[in-house]
Amino acid sequence: MTTALILLPAGGALLVWLLPWTRFWAGSFALLVSLAEVGLWIETLIRFDFSRPGLQLGAHAGWFGDLGISYHVGLFGFSLWLVGMTVVVMAAAVAYAFWTGRERARAYFGLQLFLTGAIVGVFAAQDLLLFYAFFEAMLIPLYVLVGVWGGPGRLGATLKFVIYTMAGSLLMLAAVIVLGIQQGSFDLVSTGTSGNTWIFLGFVAAFAVKAPLFPFHGWLPDAYREAPPEVSAVLSGVVSKAAVYGLLRIAIAKFPGPTHDVRVPILVFAAIGLVYGSLVAFRAPDVRGVIAYSSLAQMGLIVLGLFAANDLGFDGAILQSVNHGLLSATLFLLAGGIERRTATGELSRLGGMARGRPALATMLMTTGIIALAVPGSSAFAGEFLILAGVFRQGWIWAVIGAGAIVLAAMYMLRLISAVLHREVGPAVPDAALDLRPAELGFLVPLVACLLGLSAWPAAVSHRAFAGTRAKQAVATELASSRTPVSAAAAAYQRCLAALEDAEIVITTATDPAASARAEKKLERGCRTPSGAIDVTISVSQAGSP
C-alpha cells in the first residue's frame, strides 16, 4: 500500500516522460495520476488502524544488506496525515499547472509527479538512508521546476536554494553515516537511540534549512518569489513538512538526550524565527513575500511545538503542519491567480479586487482568516495545541507565540486589505476576471479541507499518534518492535530523557519481581545493549487525573 503510494506517481512520471504526449494529454494524465494518488491515500486512510500503535502498512525489502540498509517503508498516524496533505496539495498544484498550461508539458508534469513520489517517500521511509535518498530526490525536481519555469530571477534563486539545502543535507548525510555505522544498521525501527549531540545537530541543520528555520532561511524569499506559484505552494506547503517529519521521526525520536540538552537553543531560534518572520512579513512589499515570511514564522511555531517534546506539542505540530501545508498552498495558488490577472504581486499596485469578484474575495478572505489563526479555525487549533504544549517548557515561549498571533493578524489583514480592499490599484485592470470555475475546481477542495479541519481538528490531532498519548506511542512503537535489549533499553532511555513528568511502568510476562529485574536490566542495557528481553514499557504521565 505504502509502496503503491510511492510508485504510482513515480511510474506516472516515467510514463509522462517517455511517451509522446501532447501538452493537453500530458497534463490530463498527470492530473489523473495525482487524483488517483489522492484516491489511493483515501483507501490507505480507510485501511489504517488508528488505535494500533507502531508502524502500519509496512513493506520491507533487502537493498544493501552489507551496511544494514534496506527498503523499508511504512506509515505512522502522523505520517499518514502528512502524506494526505501532500497528495492533496500536489493534486491542486498539478491542476493549477494544467490550467495555466505550462510550456514543455511532458517535462513539467513528469517532474511534478516524480516530486510527489519523492515526498511521499520521505514521509514513509523507515530507513535512514532511504529517507535521505528520498529527501534528496525531492530536491532535483524542485530545482528544475523553479529553474526552468520560474520568474526572471530564477537562476539566482535556485542556486541559493540548492546550495543552502544541500549544505544542510550533506551535513545530514554525514550524520546519517556516522549514526548508521555506529548502530550497525540504518533501519529506523529496529535501531535504538543515540546520545551524540553532534550527530543530532547534523540532522537538525538539514531540517532547519529545509523548513526553514531562522537564520537558515536565506534561500526562502527568492525561491518563493521566483518559483512558479504552484511550485511555491509545494515548496512552502509540502516540502517544508519533510523537515517537520525528519525532526520528529529522527532528531527527536532517535536523540532523546541531545533533544533535551539542545532544546532551549532550538526553542530560542524557533521563537526568534516566529517573531522575525511575522515582522518581516508585515513589511514585505509583495503578496508572495508576505506568504513566504509567514511560512518562516509558521515553521518556527511548528518547531516550537516539536521541541515542546510533549504530546500537546507533537499533536499540535502535526495538526499545524497539515494546516499550514494546505494554507500556504492555497495562498500561493491564489497569489498566482492574482499575478496572472495583474502581472504584479506588489501590494502597492494592487487593491480593490473584491469589488465584482466575490469568489476571489471569498477564497482569499477565508484562507487569510484561517491563516491568521482566528480562534475557531484549524490553524488556531494547531497553534493552541502547540502553545499549550510549549507552555510547559516555559511560559515565555507561549507568550512569544501568543504575541505572534497578534502579529499574524497584522500581516494577514494587511495582505487581505491590500489586495481586496481600498481603491482599485493601478495594476488591476477592470477586465480582470473573477476566479474561473477551473480555478475554483482546485481552490475549493483545498479550502473545504481547511474548513473541515476547522470543524474537526481532532480528526488529525487525535489521530496523529496512536493511543491518547503521543509519546507513549513513540515509546510503544519501539517496545513493540522486536525487543532486543538495545531497543527496549533505548525506549526506556528515551522515556527517561524526554518525559520529565512521567512514570514509566515496566511489565514483563511473568511477575512483579521479574519486572524489577527487567528494569535493572534495562538500566544496565542503556549502557551495554546486548541480549534480548521480553518486556513491555508503558508510560503514564505523573499526576494525570
Binding site: G62, W63, F64, G65, D66, L67, R104, L129, Y132, A133, F134, E136, A137, L139, I140, Y143, V144, G147, V148, R154, L155, T158, L159, V162, I163, M166, A167, L170, L171, L173, A174, I177, V178, G180, I181
Partner: protein
C-alpha cells in the same frame, strides 16, 4: 640450463586479447583501404575490449584465491580482474565515443591500435606485483596516452596537451622510479609482498630510505591519479586532448591509478600506514579543495569536468586513506559509477562539440537539454551523479567512501568531503542550468545537420544505465568489490 617460469596464459588473456586487437588494428592501418579503415579498426578495437571484458569476467570468476604468477611479476586475483573489467568497459565505451570523432590526419586505425594497447597496458598495470612491472606497465599505457592526446596534431591544443602530459608525466615517472629505487635499496626487494615481509622481518618501518622512497612513490601515483597538488597537468591535458581520449583517460587512467595505489600501499607498506594514511588524507583534502574551487570559475565544460575529476580523486583518496576493507570496497564501487559518469559526460561534450564545431562552454550549451532530450537528460543525470545525488551510483559512492572514513574514525574527513560536495554543486548544477534554464541558442550546426550518432548515443545510454543501476543494484556491485577487496591484505 634456463628454467623458464610457469606462465599462466589464462591470467593474461585480457591483455592478449587487447594486444591482438591492437596488432590487428595496426594491420588494418597498413593493409586495408583508407575508406574502410576507420570502421574496421573501430570494430576490431571494440571487439578487443569486449573480449577483454569477457575474459576479465571469467578471470574474476576463477580467481577466488589470489596468487602471484609468472615469477611473481604479476598477480592473478579478483582485485585486478575487477579493475580490468572497469578498464575494458571504459575502453569499449570510449570506442563508441570515438566512432565519429573527426581524425583530421587519417590516423584512425593507429588511434584504435593505441587505444587497445593502452587498455592492455592498464590490464598489466592493475595486476602488477612488483615495482618494476608497475613502472614498465605504467610507462606502457602512459606512452599510448601521450600519443593519443597529441594525435590531433593539427590542433595546437592537442599538441600542447601532449607535450605537457609527456613532460610532466615523465617527470612523475622519474620520481616514481627514483622512489622505487630507494625502496629497492632499503629492502633489497621489488615484489610488493616481499617488501612488506622484509620490512617487518628487519624492522625497517622507520628506515629513511624506505620512507623517502614511499614519499616518491606516493607522488608518482598521485600524479597519475591527478590528485592535488600533483594534478596540475590534468585540466590542460583533459581540455586539449581529443574528447574521446579525455573520456578514456578520465575513466580508465583514474581507475587503474587508484587500484594500483591501493594495492601498493596496502600490500607493500602496511607498516608505514601511520604515515601514508594521514598523507593520503591530506592529499585528499587538498584535491577536494583545489578541484572544487578551480572548477567553480570554469566556462569550458571539458576543463570544468577535469577539475571535477580532481575533486573526485579527492573522494577516492578518502577511501584509500581509510585503510580498511570498507575503504577498498568503497573505492572499487566508486570507480564503477564514476567511470560511467565521466565517460558519459565527456561523450555528451563530444557530441555537442561535433555539433558546434567548437569547444563546448557553458554558454554554448544553452538550450541543449531541450534540443537533444536524450543527451540532455543523460548529462543531467551525470551531473547529479557527480554531485552525489541519490538515484545515481554517485550517491552510494560518496556514501561508502564516507562510511569507510567513519569506520576508521576520521569523521573530520567526512566533514571536509561534505563541504566540498556543497561547493561542487555550484558548477554541476551550473551545467544543468546552462542546458535547461537559459534561452536556447539555436546554433546552426557546423556542416549541416548533426549526424545521427547512434553509436555515441548508445554509449551514453549505457553510461546512463550503469549510473542509475549502480544505485539500485548497489548490493551486487559491492559484493563484487568485496570479493575483490579480499585479495588485499586488509
Amino acid at each position: 640450463m634456463i628454467s623458464k617460469p610457469h606462465v599462466d596464459w589464462f591470467a593474461l588473456s585480457p591483455e592478449f586479447v587487447l594486444l591482438g586487437a591492437s596488432a590487428l588494428a595496426l594491420f588494418v592501418a597498413v593493409l586495408v583501404p583508407r575508406w574502410a579503415r576507420r570502421a574496421l579498426s573501430a570494430v576490431v578495437c571494440a571487439l578487443g575490449f569486449a573480449g577483454a571484458f569477457v575474459a576479465a569476467a571469467i578471470l574474476y570468476g576463477r580467481s577466488a584465491h589470489g596468487h602471484p604468477i609468472i615469477a611473481d611479476a604479476i598477480v592473478r586475483d579478483r582485485f585486478g580482474a575487477l579493475a580490468m573489467l572497469i578498464v575494458a568497459g571504459s575502453g569499449l565505451l570510449a570506442v563508441g565515443i570515438s566512432a565519429r570523432e573527426p581524425m583530421r590526419n587519417g590516423h584512425d586505425a593507429e588511434y584504435y591500435a593505441l587505444l587497445a594497447a593502452a587498455g592492455a597496458g592498464m590490464a598489466f598495470f592493475v595486476t602488477a606485483n612488483n615495482l618494476m612491472t608497475i613502472f614498465l606497465s605504467l610507462e606502457w599505457f602512459s606512452l599510448c596516452l601521450y600519443v593519443m592526446c597529441a594525435i590531433d596534431v593539427d590542433l595546437v591544443g592537442s599538441l600542447e596537451a601532449g607535450l605537457k602530459y609527456l613532460v610532466v608525466g615523465s617527470f612523475g615517472s622519474a620520481v616514481l622510479l627514483f622512489g622505487s629505487a630507494l625502496v629497492y635499496g632499503a629492502t633489497g626487494q621489488l615484489g610488493l609482498d616481499r617488501i612488506a615481509a622484509t620490512v617487518s622481518a628487519q624492522h625497517l618501518s622507520r628506515d629513511v630510505l624506505l620512507l623517502a622512497g614511499l614519499a616518491m612513490i606516493i607522488t608518482g601515483l598521485g600524479f597519475k591519479s591527478s590528485s592535488a597538488p600533483f594534478h596540475m597537468w590534468t585540466p590542460d591535458v583533459y581540455e586539449g586532448a581529443p574528447t574521446p581520449v579525455t573520456s578514456f583517460m578520465a575513466a580508465a587512467t583514474k581507475t587503474v591509478a587508484f587500484v594500483v595505489a591501493l594495492r601498493i600501499l596496502v600490500t607493500a607498506f602496511p607498516q608505514e600506514a601511520h604515515l601514508w594514511t594521514v598523507t593520503i588524507a591530506v592529499i585528499a583534502c587538498v584535491s577536494l579543495a583545489v578541484g572544487n574551487f578551480a572548477a567553480l570559475v570554469q566556462r569550458n565544460v571539458k576543463r570544468m569536468l577535469a577539475y571535477s575529476s580532481i575533486s573526485h580523486a579527492g573522494f577516492m583518496l578518502i577511501a584509500v586513506a581509510a585503510h580498511n576493507s570498507l575503504g577498498a570496497r568503497a573505492l572499487l564501487y566508486y570507480l564503477v559509477p564514476y567511470s560511467a559518469m565521466s565517460l558519459g559526460a565527456f561523450a555528451v561534450v563530444a557530441a555537442r562539440e561535433r555539433e558546434l564545431g567548437q569547444a563546448v562552454t557553458l554558454d554554448n550549451l544553452a538550450g541543449m537539454g531541450w534540443e537533444r532530450p536524450l543527451l540532455g537528460a543523460s548529462m543531467f543525470t551525470f551531473m547529479l551523479g557527480f554531485a552525489g545525488f541519490p538515484l545515481t551510483g554517485g550517491f552510494f559512492g560518496k556514501f561508502l567512501v564516507f562510511s569507510a572514513a567513519v569506520d576508521r574514525g576520521w569523521t573530520w574527513l567526512v566533514i571536509v568531503g561534505v563541504a566540498a560536495t556543497a561547493v561542487s554543486l555550484y558548477y554541476y548544477l551550473g551545467v544543468i542550468r546552462a542546458m535547461y534554464m537559459r534561452a536556447e541558442l539555436r546554433l546552426a550546426p557546423a556542416g549541416g545537420a548533426p549526424p545521427q550518432e547512434l553509436v555515441l548515443q548508445t554509449s551514453v545510454l549505457v553510461c546512463l544505465a550503469v549510473t542509475v543501476a549502480s544505485f539500485f543494484a548497489v548490493q551486487p556491485l559491492v559484493d563484487l568489490a568485496k570479493h575483490a577487496g579480499r585479495a588485499l591484505p586488509l
